[in-house]
Amino acid sequence: MAYTITEKCNGCGACARVCPADAITGEKKKLHVIAAAQCIECGACGRSCPHASVLDATGTLCGLIKRSEWLKPAFIIKSCIACGICVDTCPVGCLAMSDLPRDKGVAPYPYLQAAKACIGCGFCSHDCPTDALVMQKPAKS
């Protein structure tokens, strides 16, 4: 299963720019296409499409969401086992393990090192074996 682009697409290219899997191709101002074999269903294309032209894997129309409102991971450090699964699973590499230990002991911890790169896919939260990450709206600064 994969995301698809409908005929409504006007070829603005917003989806292709945000796709971390390089799955979207198309000429400027022409219909874009998602390569099903490449798509990882992160949903970034759907959230960034200004013309409501993207259907998710179940065929549901995706809605545009302002990037500043995309969900971001928040860490529940006491539940974290430092396994690094979240860091690895992040398709844009916005998470990292700390070079410094936690307050007590010497265990490292994951953190959002590049918040602007985060596409709010939630893979980190989904894959965390101990549910030590939750996706939430970013706090207004």
């Binding site: 899997a21 799955a23 990882i40 396994c83 074996p129 101990t130």
Partner: protein, 649 residues
Amino acid sequence: MPKPYMGKILMVDLSSHTLTEEVIPDAVYEQYLSGMGLGAYILYNRIPAGADPLGPENILGFCSGLLTGSGSLFSGRWTLTGKSPLTGCWGDANCGGTFSPAIKRCGYDAIFFSGISDTPVYLYIKNGTATLRDATDLWGEDAIATEERLGARHGLKAGIAVIGPAGEKLSLISGVCTDRGRIAARSGLGAVMGSKKLKAVVLDGVKRIGAADPAAMKRLSRHCSKWVGFNLPLTPGSVFARVGSFLRITPVLFPQDGLLYTNILKKWGTGGMNQASIEMGDAPLKNWEGTNRDFPIAKSRKINPDRILETEIVKYHCYSCPLGCGGTCAAKGMPGHTHKPEYESILALGGLCMNEDLDSIYYLNELLNRAGMDTISAGATAAFAIECFEKGVLTKEDTDGLELKWGNTEATVALIKKMIRREGLGDVLADGTKIAAAKIGKGAEAFTVHAGGQEPAMHDGRNDPGFNIHYSLEPTPGRHTLGAHLYYEMFQLWKRVKGLPKPKPLFAKSSKYRIDAEKAAMAAACSRFMSLANGAGMCMFGLFLGAKRTPTFDWLNAATGWTLSPEDYMVVGERIQTLKQAFNVKHGIEPKNNFISARAQGTVPQREGANKGRSVDVEKLACDYWTQFGWDPDTGKPKDETLRKLGIS
């Protein structure tokens, strides 16, 4: 139904620069899993008999574990496979870090290289597009510098495996490095990569890895992580030496629970047992001739686990590992951070050479990681050279003036630098002890300790005879991560697999040294289980928790949707093990020639120390062990009926 494997491999012919994707049928995964099993399946079928390990026909495989990325824990290990130029046998080396998921995220379970490139190249895969790129500018760079340059070029998220100068110079004790200082070191497969003129593999993919039942995976992982978080009260590291002394003298033992070992690993890492191992006779000293009396507590306290902990800044966790036995350290005289040296490195570069200088061990560990040379074999070869010098086989003229005396730190460091650069005597030693002894002559063979050409690890089979079984009888000789009497106790397989012997709650230590069919059954169970684990990409330290606490079999079923029993999975392990042995037979290996050297067998038993008077009859062990697998008890070759039964053709 989502699967934890990608169902595809990439074949790269470096001679023609051709890249071909191949679909692997589900049945292959059901029979061999992925990782080492898939590697064995491909290499057995495609490397022609008698192929030169450093020639174009050899195939080097980078194989991720079947469970990697499925939501299981302890499943981040990848296996490097190939025909070993060090032993001529099936060769493999495995490593943690972050490289195993990187393979799968590119959409492949494994990447195999055949042929030889005219010029140095590296493979770069980015989101489904694989290309071979020029690596001329990287050739000659050390492993960590290469990784940093490629990381800067292609993004820090990329998984990168590289060879250092040792692999380029075809040192037969070289490996493949990842994660700035981790190394798949054994079997000399770095030289195979060097022979192919392949400098690096750079993987930058984002594919999702599935599981048939993600909820079950999460439930099982939580069950396991609960046990990892179970903290036992631990004494200071200095007390461990006394624990080792007690284990040396006690006439009775009880089966060890791996929970204690995982707690030690969590706090200190593999170096936690340094002093205890020396005291109890587990660690070989002075090129396997010494005893704990030669390296008493007054000396070994300089490599005390607490001294190592003092240098640690932060723990290092491999992918999907909640234990974190690794560490990032800032050691005296080291520029920047360095990986915490492992037990094997500390003892090979320390006690085996009678070197008690911890700073030099850090230095050599970093030096060898950068060179891409195996610390076990490098330390063992240095110890061999020192003994040759001490006994007059080598002279100062041979060593270019180095005073190779036991415990001479400066000379040991200088010698290992020569080995890395292949200068003078270093050139002779850079291919390990067996080849060095043949070149040196003058009876130097008597001072070598190897199994089939590979230096064994820092666990003495005269203390735990299980190690000598696996050093001598595994298709990959000289390996310590496949089984031992101690491992059997900790794996607690009898709690999940029917028909396996259960150790008595209290037993006489002397019974460990009695050779009987039960020992062979235990060793065979370890071999089957670890072959399975290496197919799944599991870490042995996680398995030390015990088969009920680390639910390997259940993870495999939940990830794949299969409904196999633990006994069925042990048959999968047996199939992988037998295929590796069949690989050796195909390539003309006589398994009997791989028995570990007489010194390590205790053919002439030690006169003092922890292993006083002990010897291990490997010949007798071999018959019993081979019988367990349905291999010929006299030759170790798999019988036709066994191959048929396992579906190996």
